[in-house]
Assembly symmetry: C2
Homo-oligomer: 192 residues x 2
Amino acid sequence: MKQDLRILKTQESLRHALLTLLKTKPLESITIAELCRLAKINRGTFYSHYKNVHDVFKHYLEVIVEDFRHAYEEPYHKTNFHIQHIEADMIKIFHHVKKYQDFYQIIFDERIPMMYYYQLFDTVRSFMQMSIDDSYLELDKSIKVDYLISYQTNAILGILIEWHRQGYETSIQELNQQLITILSINSPFRKM
Amino acid sequence: MKQDLRILKTQESLRHALLTLLKTKPLESITIAELCRLAKINRGTFYSHYKNVHDVFKHYLEVIVEDFRHAYEEPYHKTNFHIQHIEADMIKIFHHVKKYQDFYQIIFDERIPMMYYYQLFDTVRSFMQMSIDDSYLELDKSIKVDYLISYQTNAILGILIEWHRQGYETSIQELNQQLITILSINSPFRKM
DNA sequence: ATAGTTAATGTACACATGTTCAATATCTTA
DNA sequence: TAAGATATTGAACATGTGTACATTAACTAT
């Protein structure tokens, strides 16, 4: 059973139209009607593929997250956990966000729904989980690991929020240096 | 110059109508037209007070944040920084969120814009800044304090996100115990 | 109590949203 | 390539959005 070409064409037209519009106006001000006019798609057809404009944007974030996972899951990750690896892990996050800065500027925008933040959160969290699993094997039994992981994950995202607010002016190298300093103060990943 | 009573009446009607509607449906599905019908306010009048439904909701969050600041700024804060104080500080955040759980359930909803998250972030961040100012006076000169503070702040919010996702089932006492454990692992506020 | 100010109302308009349905066009598979 | 399946279109409808403006109502200050 082949994928129907009409569906592909419709979705690609809409996605392409969104990218085009994003060059000239913010995501929140793009209407479904506008998107359909540009894509030359009947507005009724839109609703059989997407619920709203965010639904179209979501596709790109999924591609981006997939690229993120790829960059993250490299061979050395099979090795055991070291503090050096955390540095390497996090600098990858910074590189990733910088690479897709145009998108992350949208995602961190105050008018945009939390869903994108949560998608990033979940991705970073799954990486953090792998690190924690490796390094905190003999954790205090009283700790609920979920809270620890969400704490650590969101801490990293806090750096991204700060980066965003400062207009992504801090260089990746500087950012990494800051993180190393913060971690050396907090030592969240020191051997136990 | 007195505040015009008509303005107060209009705004209070709209705010009251919003609270009423929130009992039966999610914020994102409440329309301006609906709000105005219930409040018996002409829809045109709405726009001379608010830009959208979120603008009306924002008022409540401001009241809530004000209450938060009050609860936070108590006498003992004049004393010097101790790890015990951080515990006390953070358990206040948990109490606060629990007190206004109905609102925070909305704020952390994935459909809701980031602006509310940022408002909470900024509030907690200002508290964190006070703590950092007290305790990290002789910080490594190479650190950009903004990144450190945003890191610490968002870490705490990470716990709130996890709390939200688990349906606020964890008790405040348990949450506080978790935080103490996490802090004792990470020691982010230990004396330097 | 009144004059002057200003907020609220009612109406209208152009456009967006979300849904429905019959007619048409385009695909897939045999 | 023809038949059957299904996606797209166009049209219509009720409702929401954002804005404008003349009219009416309510308020403040004197």
